[in-house]
Amino acid sequence: MGETVIGRPIVPGEATGTVLRSARAISLWGGVDPQTGEIIDPHHDRCGESIVGRVFVFPGEKGSSTGSAVLLELARRGLAPAALITSALAPVVALGAIVAEELYGTAIPVILVSQDEMAELADGDRLRVRVDGTLRRATPLE
């Protein structure tokens, strides 16, 4: 990616983490284990990886409206992702992040970017997410 990507903060917040990038839409319910944060949907391209503490980059959500509860349960267990970056409005994911902040004080920023901007975010990049939706490469110390 270039120096910065400016996204729209659907759920604003600050975070730093390493990108886990996926090519497929995800249903958190049935797609991510609420007790471990591992992706368990065998149809998903990152099945077997963990979203815990990662900047999870995904093209959108699908499936169950119970996905919000999976994100909330991860937050309760201290296993939330650092941030969520998507290229399509994801109301179920957003709701989960909002309730996690209201109930447990866990900030999980959700940032909307364009498909082109998403293409610039590479797996393994270390990113800093700002409250205004700006994403930039983090230095190793951040």
Binding site: P12, G30, P34, S68, R76
Partner: protein
Amino acid sequence: MEAPAVNTPRILGRREAMPVSVRLSDFDRSMLSGDLGEAPRFAMSVVVRMAEAVGASDLISVEQAHIDACALMSRSNLDFVTRLADAGGRVRVLTTLNMVSLDLQHWARLGVPRAFAEQASTIAAAYVRLGCVPTWSCAPYQGYLTPRFGQQIAWGESNAVVYANSVLGARTNRYADFMDVCAAITGRVPDAGLHRTENRRGDVVVRLPDEDRSAWTSPAAWAALGYLIGELVGTRIPVLDGLPAPATGEQLKALGAAAASSGAVEMFHAVGITPEAPDLETALHGGTAADNLVLTRRMLRDAWDRMSSVPAGEPVDAVILGCPHFSYAEFAELAEAIREVGSSRAHPGVQLLVLTDSTAHALASRGGLTDEIARFGATIALDTCPFHSPIVADGAKSVMTNSGKCAYYAPGELGASIAFGTLRDCVRSAASGVVTREESPWARR
């Protein structure tokens, strides 16, 4: 957009304290400020933040809610509802409840562990403390609190949402778990999506093959159609042209539940059947469709076949009926099918499970239907769902059902293979212990 007022409302506790960009009424502001208590503050801040997330500039009032979140068995759900109920939270609108993860009366007989039952009961009781009506039903449209045409409502549960929008003509989005609760407490939702007339226009015209009416008699045929439609249209609004009118509630329920499972269909139109589609032009709001699909008999037959992975003649471990919850008419059809099959009792190796709510059960019981069904060996479970409550026998590897929704979710949720068929096929298979199916309604003739 108006210039921000001098005392721009802010969301308390939000770390960034960003000003609110959504237009709020005075009453909304009182809720948001905490003047009316912690539960309305919490719920209103979630509603406002969701309005910002989906880009809505206004909120609208809803007159009814249906909460799906009560079905969840997790510590965080317990934390969530306890926080609101302990703060004295009350729903502001008529609110019904989806199924819970427990048959509240018969859980011990169904083999549910005590610790699970206690936590599920605590969650259920907390939702009742909020002032919700304990309907415990995933088919709230079959009850006595059915919303009216044009009414703005906030419902969770995908099959209920698609039925409310399509068949009743009430207006709701498919609300995420917990958003349904916040909408019930505030009576407010973002003015977006299917609440707005322009977003209820059909996107895709789906033409059905000319069929003999008899092909569409069984709700299972409508379930197979729904399954195929969900796969084809995803989140778009299909306009189905060529279905025989009139249709029963059970047929439309089967269609919508399947389409909301294989796809994310929140609304469909059926020309000459559903209230916003007296004709094709009206369903398209006078415009043209973005897309046109022509379904063939072969596509329907293939969809029907694709829903089953267990071939005829193989053993059946469990038969699941009542997904969504059985209605009185479905109980009557089941009793009739049992009489027709003429076998006095289901095969001992088969668990025959019928899911329903207390209202439909009371009617069926009064009609003498439940005794007949129980004598055949069926277990009738109330208030709950086989995917949320541990009531399906361990080791059930092959499940037969007449439900497109159950056929879609059982492989992932129960680890089972599916045999799909009509209600009569299900009863025959329960009696014989092996998959016994007639040909699909679209078999070569």
